[in-house]
């Protein structure tokens, strides 16, 4: 419906975004610290990072709910300062946690949200989108966690948005509800919509996102497609092992000297993780090194490298550590 030129503009772009809380009381907390983003139309973009990294603050600034302390935000070529009303009609938002009115029915909640938009999808279509047709007459208070989350997304889809913002959409959901939600997001993206989501589940980011930005302490520390980021480790596999108690520890230098090993990480509990390009070459060498020392392997695992490994390599911390 927009002109060609407008379509070529990025869905979201922001430059030099900063958000400082409580600056007046002297104890300033920098939640977002100079963030640049460019999210293309039709892609699913993930902000990945531990709790407290500044993901929620960032999306809430993009959603026009929070004012940035500094920096510029443009959505679909428009800015919140100039086009608030027009822009709001074109985005859909599911906050990290919203408790919708418990004593309204699903249909009543959707009609409430529909009333805010000049043009909106009919209730029946929304219910079909999120597979809540059977629950149309049920009170929100009676829905399961997954159903509530799907209703929250239906509320975000009411105005047929161009951009859908989802803040931790699957936190606290069981695996089945999580997969149901993923399908929903992928369907929206399949229809040409842009998705911006935050998550601290790397599996979610790998499944859904075309590109991710890894955020830590309010900054982007790495950006790219999940595959690119993992490739950036220089190895697609991880070998994790632990020596039997009492065995003398292996030095990082010795491990890095093994064939096909590109990285080694020793953690305090004695676990050791090697990033490895060819496990078939690295494993025999590792076992040889251990038996040469007379140190028995207590645990041994090989797996594909994940975004978690990328995060740990970049920060030395795990995503869940916060």
């Amino acid at each position: 419906m927009q002109a060609e030129a407008a379509q070529s503009e990025p869905a979201v772009s922001c430059r030099g975004l900063r958000k400082i809380y409580d600056a007046r009381r002297g104890s300033a907390v920098v939640a977002v610290d100079g963030l640049d983003l460019e999210i293309r139309r039709g892609e699913c973009f993930g902000l990945l990072g531990p709790n407290g990294a500044g993901k929620t603050t960032t999306v809430e600034i993009l959603e026009g709910i929070l004012e940035p302390s500094a920096g510029a935000v443009e959505l679909l070529g428009m800015s919140w300062a100039r086009d608030d009303v027009r822009l709001r009609e074109r985005i859909g938002v599911a906050l990290q946690e919203t408790r919708l009115p418990e004593r309204l029915t699903v249909t009543e909640v959707l009609n409430l949200f529909r009333s805010f938009y000049r043009r909106s999808r009919p209730v029946a279509a929304l219910l079909a989108d999120v597979e809540l047709g059977e629950k149309s007459g049920a009170w929100v208070g009676k829905l399961s966690g997954g159903q509530r989350q799907r209703l929250a997304i239906a509320c975000a889809l009411v105005g047929q948005p161009d951009i859908l913002f989802l803040d931790e959409p699957t936190t606290g959901l069981d695996p089945q509800s999580r997969r149901q939600l993923w399908e929903l997001v992928l369907r929206f993206r399949g229809g040409g919509g842009t998705v911006v989501l935050t998550t601290h589940y790397m599996e979610e980011a790998e499944r859904l996102c075309d590109r991710v930005a890894i955020i830590d302490h309010g900054r982007i520390i790495k950006e790219g497609s999940p595959a690119e980021l993992i490739r950036g480790l220089g190895a697609a596999h991880v070998i994790e092992f632990k020596l039997e108690d009492g065995a003398a520890a292996l030095a990082e230098r010795e491990l890095l000297a093994l064939p096909a090993v590109t990285g080694a990480r020793l953690s305090e509990d004695g676990m050791c993780a090697l990033t490895v390009s060819e496990p078939a070459r690295a494993l025999p060498a590792l076992i040889g090194l251990c038996s040469g020392r007379g140190a028995a392997l207590g645990r041994l695992e090989t797996r594909h490298a994940t975004l978690e490994d990328v995060f740990v390599t970049l920060t030395g911390r795990h995503l869940r550590d916060g």
Partner: protein, 351 residues
Amino acid sequence: MAEERNARNHPVLQLTLMRLRELRREPGTLFWVFGFPILMSIALGLAFRSTGPEPIRVGVLPGVSAEVTGALTAGGVTVKVLDEGLARNELRAGRVAIVLVPPASGTGALGYRYDDKRPESRLGRAVVDDILQRAAGRHDPRAVQDELVRERGARYIDFLIPGLIGMNLMSGSMWGIGWVLVNMRVRKLLKRLLAAPMRRRHLMYAQALARLVMIPIEMVVILVFARLAFDVRMAGSWPALALVSVTGSASFAGLAILVASRAQNSETVSGLMNLVMLPMFVLSGVFFSSDHFPAFMQPAINALPLTALCNSLRAVIIDGAGIAGIAGSLAVMAIWGVISFVVGLRLFRWG
């Protein structure tokens, strides 16, 4: 696949419906809105019902002459013969208004023992003295004639019902708007609504509209009950009553928004609301006339919005006052409402 918005789907209508549906589906609120004031008026109406003048009870110590007790009994006074200790207790507890003490030897004067700070004791003394002096032969030189009237509107229940209505309008606005808004903030619903293209003012209009729907229902329920149970009648005009109720509610709606403007959880807002409301329950003449407070407090008490509301409700319901007669009170309420609304909206935190 999209539909244009139509009149049935106006945001103010949908937001109002949300509020009313939540109210209707929450049994607890229905009790506080309707049950509580009715129970209150039943309890207080029964406790302070007017059953004609109570007989005057007089304690008599041993040694008071039979002539005296005979005269009192004949004069319609209840006489109890009590010993010294018992007389003291009964007097303290108010079960006798006055105790007659036999004349000390020599003086010949009958003793009246009573507490002159108690109205019923002073009345007892006057009545007892009157009976005894007449029995002893006093002649009243001036001819008088009693003319008895039973004025409706003079009973305690007539005083109480407008007070309860005022209190109810205040609580309705404070809880129904202040608590509800804070609750929406705690649940992040305010933030979610702002993330949608909702106009902030529409949410406020909807709160006001929901109150406007509830006020007549609340008023009618209490007034009908008061009429049926206690024969409390409405002396004034319905438009005047409607104006007073709406102005009073608007005044407290403003206060509710002010109180709710910053609170981040429901405990804080409950505390703040009680801080605002409890002093007014006591000072503003809900249960007893605020005239009982010392004169220096009166200007402050009269400036309170609940005082203005209760006074104007009484003026309309009992005295049949017109709008001109309550203009001052209406102005007090309007000032409170406008100032607190403007300040509250400025301070209001959506996130």
